[in-house]
Point group: C2
Chain length 470, copies 2
C-alpha cells in the first residue's frame, strides 16, 4: 500500500490522470505473457519524461517502494510481474522515434516505441535493424533492451545487445546518466551500456536509446528442408557453418510442432516428417544465390528428404509467419504452455534435442521443440495444464533436467527470454555461487535499497517455478 | 615494499624462479608504451595457472598489495604502469592457444597469446578474427581484452568487445568465475563478459577467453585517394557510408603524417597532398569489385585529385604497412610523441580535424593527425619534448581543448586506447559525476580493497597528464 502522502507526491509529478491505483487498473498490470505468475502492483504510473522518472525514483528510494518498468509485457520470464508490489511504470507517453541519422547509421528512440514501428521507419530509409524477437509486432524497444531480446536473425546478425550504442538511464538514486554515443569505438570507462542491456530493469530505468543500423540487405531467399531423421537435420546445420556460410536464419521445428503449426496456419507443411529446417540467406543478389545453391546441396547430401526454395516473397513470408506462429499454434492445444529457451553451442543441438525427447518420455510429458538451430537456441515447449498439480510437478522436474543437460553441454539456462522470476532459482546452475555473488554485488552497489524491479534475476530461495500469487 | 613473510608465501605459490624483486627486474616493468609515466613495482610475478593467480590475489587482498596484470605493455594510457607499486603480474607461462573450434567458430586462448599468432592460427583454418590493433605483432590477447582494443577494421567488424564470447576471471576475492559460453545467445544474468572487456584490469584477472571467429573473407581490395582539401576527404567518407557501403577500412592521414610516413617507409606516397584516404573492402570477389568501383566513383565526384587501386597484394600490403607505421614514423621526428585517440561520430570528422589544426596553431604546437576516419576515431599526435616544460604545459592545454571539442561533437575522450592513468582526469568530461560515481560503485563492489590495478580509470585528483615518477 502506498500511503496517501506519497500518492499525492507521485500524482503531483505525473498528473492525477497518469496515476492509477484502481483495482481494475492494477489488475491489468498484475501479470505479463508468462504463465503461472500474477501479483498485484500498488499503482500504475505513466511518466511523461526522464525528469518525472527521476523524481518518481527518488520518492521510491526514500520510501522503499518497488518500481517495475514495463513495455508491452511480452516477456516470458515474469520479468514485469510486480511480485513485490509497488509501482508499475509505463512508457506510453515516451514512445517517439527521435531521429534516424543516415550519416552515422543510427536511430534514437524513446523506450515505448513498438519494435516493428521502428523497424519499418528505418527500412523506409533503406536501413536495417536486425534484431527481430517473435513479439516484435507488439513488444517495445525498451523491453527488448532490458531483456536483450534475440530473434530469428541472431545467427548472422547477433542480438539486441549488439545494436545498442548509447543509453540514457535514470539510476536508483534518481541521477540521469548517459552511456556510450554514436561511436563505433569508445573505451571511456566500463561498458555500462551493455551492463544495462539485459539487466531486466534491475539496475536503472532506460529513458532513451541510440541503436546501430546497417544497410538494408539487397535481397533475401528462403528454403525449407525436410528430414526423416533429427540428426541429419542437426548435421546439416553444422555442415552449413563448417562450409563457411552464415545464413541469416536457420530455424528448426520438430514433428509435433510442425503438426501444430500446420493445423493452425494451414500453409501445406508436410506433417509426416521428423524435422524441418527453415533457412534464409540475405545479402547481395549473386551471393545469396550462390549460398542458397550450396545450402541446398549440403542439405541433400545430409539426406534431407526434400529441399524446396520459396518461389515468391509471399511463399517465403508464409513460411516465416508459420515459424513465428509456432508458440501460438502450440498454445491452442492445452490450457497451459510453458516455453523454455535452454541454449547450447551449435555443435550440441542434436544431443540436446535427443535429451529433451528422453526427458519428456521419462516424465510422461508432451514437449515440442522448435527454435533457432543456427545459434543453438532451442525452445522446448511443454503443453500442460496448471490445474493438474501432479503433472506440473513433473514439468518442473523435467525442465530442471533440461537446464542441467544444457549446462552440461556448455550451454545456458536462457538464451533470449531472460531470468526474471521464472529462471532465478536456476541461475546458480550457470553461474555458480561466485558468479551470482559478483552480480549481486553490482546490483547492490547501484541499487542499495533494492527498489529496481526487486525479486528478479536473484532468487530469494531455491523454490522452483510454482509461485503463489499474492 | 613487500615484507619477507609475504614474499615467501608468494614464492611458494609460483616458485622462486617466477618471482623477481631485483632492481633490474622491476625496472623493466616500471613503464609501458606510454610516454611520461614510470613507477617501480615491488616485484614481478609470473604465475603458471589460474589457481596460482587465485592464491596470489588472496594474499594481495589480505595485505593490500596492488596487482597490475600486464601483457606486452603496448597500451598507450599507462594502463600497466604500476603507479602504486605492488605486483606486476605476467602471463608468460599462460600463452597457449587451447582450441580452435571449427564447428562453433570459436578460438579459446590463454591471456598471454600474442594477437598475431592467434590470428595466423585461425587463418590457417580459413577463419578470421577481425580486431587488428596496430600493436598486434607484439600485443597479447589478454591485453587486447582488458583494453577493448580497436584497430583498422573497426568500421565494418567492430572491436575486441564484439568478439569476446566467454571469459574465465579471477576476482579480487580470489574466486574463479566463468562468464558467457560458446553461445550466440545468453541472457543468464548481467553481461559480465562485456563488463570485464575494457575494464583495464581493475575488476579481475582474465585467465582464459573464448573468442568468436567468422569465415575468412574471400578477397580484399585496397585503394588510395588523394585530396587537396580536407573537407573533400571527409565528405567522401560520409558519402561512401550514405551510399550504404561499409568498407573494412577507411583510414585518414593528414599532410604532416604523410610526409613522416613517406620519409620513413619510402613507398612513393605523394607528399604534396593535404590528405590521403586508404580504403579497403573485403568479401566475396564480385561484391568487392562492385563496392570498390563505386567507392572510386564517389571519391572522384568528391574531388579527389587522384584515386588509385593497389595493383597487387604486395602493393596493398605496403600501403597498409605504411599506415600502421604512422606512429613509428612520427616518433622519429621529436624526442617525445604523444598519441591521442579522441573519437567523434563519423559525421563530425571534418569539424574535428579542423578544430585540431586550430588548437595546434593556438598553442604553437606540431600536431599531426591520422586515424580511422570510418569510425571517427582520430589520432592527433603531438611531436614534442618532455624536457621542454613550457611546451609540455601547452601540450596539456591543447589536448584538454581537443577532448572538450570531441565531447562537444558527441564524441569521447578515448576511442581505443583506454583511460588508464593518462585519461583518468578527463573521464568526468565524458561521463559526468553521476556516471563516474556509478562506475566507482561497481569497482568498489567487486574490489573493495582496491587492489586490482589501482590508480587506473578513476582520477585521484584533477591533475592532468604530468605525472611525477616515484
Amino acid at each position: 500500500m502506498i500511503d496517501s502522502k506519497v500518492k499525492q507526491a507521485l500524482q503531483s509529478i505525473v498528473g492525477p490522470e497518469n496515476y492509477d491505483d484502481s483495482k481494475a487498473g492494477r489488475l491489468v498490470y498484475s501479470y505479463d505473457a508468462t504463465p503461472q505468475f500474477q501479483s498485484m502492483p500498488d499503482a500504475v504510473i505513466a511518466p511523461r519524461n526522464r525528469e518525472e522518472i527521476s523524481q518518481i525514483i527518488k520518492i521510491c528510494n526514500e520510501y522503499n517502494i518497488p518500481i517495475v518498468p514495463r513495455g508491452s509485457g511480452t516477456n516470458l520470464c515474469a520479468g514485469t510481474c510486480p511480485t513485490e508490489g509497488g509501482l508499475v511504470l509505463l512508457f506510453k507517453h515516451m514512445n517517439k522515434i527521435l531521429e534516424v541519422d543516415e550519416e552515422n547509421l543510427t536511430v534514437t528512440v524513446q523506450p515505448g516505441v513498438i519494435t516493428l514501428d521502428m523497424t519499418k521507419a528505418v527500412e523506409a530509409k533503406g536501413l536495417f535493424y536486425p534484431p527481430d524477437p517473435s513479439s516484435m509486432k507488439i513488444s517495445t524497444i525498451g523491453g527488448n533492451i532490458n531483456e536483450n531480446s534475440g530473434g530469428l536473425r541472431g545467427l548472422k546478425y547477433g542480438v539486441t545487445r549488439d545494436y545498442v550504442m548509447a543509453l540514457e538511464v535514470v539510476l536508483a538514486n534518481g541521477e540521469i546518466i548517459k552511456t556510450g554515443g554514436k561511436l563505433a569505438k569508445d573505451v571511456a570507462g566500463y561498458d555500462l551500456t551493455r551492463l544495462f542491456v539485459g539487466s531486466e530493469g534491475t539496475l536503472g530505468i532506460i529513458t532513451e536509446a541510440t541503436l546501430k543500423l546497417i544497410p538494408m540487405p539487397e535481397t533475401k531467399k528462403t528454403i525449407l528442408a525436410l528430414y526423416q531423421d533429427l540428426e541429419a537435420a542437426a548435421r546439416s546445420v553444422s555442415s552449413i557453418i563448417a562450409n563457411k556460410i552464415i545464413p541469416t536464419t536457420l530455424e528448426f521445428l520438430d514433428q509435433p510442432t510442425i503438426e501444430a503449426v500446420e493445423a493452425f496456419a494451414q500453409i501445406g507443411l508436410p506433417t509426416d516428417v521428423k524435422a524441418i529446417l527453415l533457412i534464409e540467406q540475405d545479402g547481395p543478389e549473386e551471393i545469396v544465390k550462390k549460398d542458397i545453391d550450396q545450402i541446398i546441396e549440403i542439405c541433400k547430401s545430409e539426406h534431407a528428404v526434400s529441399v524446396q526454395a520459396a518461389q515468391s516473397e509471399e511463399e517465403a513470408e508464409a513460411l516465416r509467419t508459420a515459424r513465428r506462429a509456432a508458440l501460438s499454434a502450440l498454445a491452442r492445444l492445452k490450457p497451459t504452455t510453458i516455453l523454455e529457451d535452454a541454449t547450447v553451442p551449435r555443435s550440441e543441438i542434436a544431443k540436446m534435442v535427443k535429451a529433451i525427447e528422453e526427458i519428456a518420455k521419462k516424465y510422461n510429458l508432451r514437449i515440442c521443440t522448435f527454435g533457432h538451430a543456427g545459434d543453438g537456441n532451442l525452445h522446448p515447449t511443454c503443453l500442460t495444464d496448471v490445474r493438474d498439480h501432479d503433472e506440473i510437478e513433473r514439468v518442473e522436474k523435467a525442465f530442471e533436467e533440461i537446464f542441467e543437460k544444457a549446462i552440461e553441454l556448455g550451454g545456458t539456462i536462457t538464451g533470449e527470454h531472460g531470468v526474471g522470476v521464472m529462471k532465478a532459482p536456476y541461475l546458480e546452475m550457470k553461474l555458480g555461487p561466485a558468479g551470482i555473488a559478483a552480480m549481486q554485488a553490482i546490483k547492490t552497489s547501484l541499487d542499495p535499497n533494492n527498489i529496481m524491479n526487486p525479486g528478479k534475476v536473484f532468487a530469494k530461495d531455491s523454490r522452483k517455478r510454482v509461485v503463489v500469487s499474492k
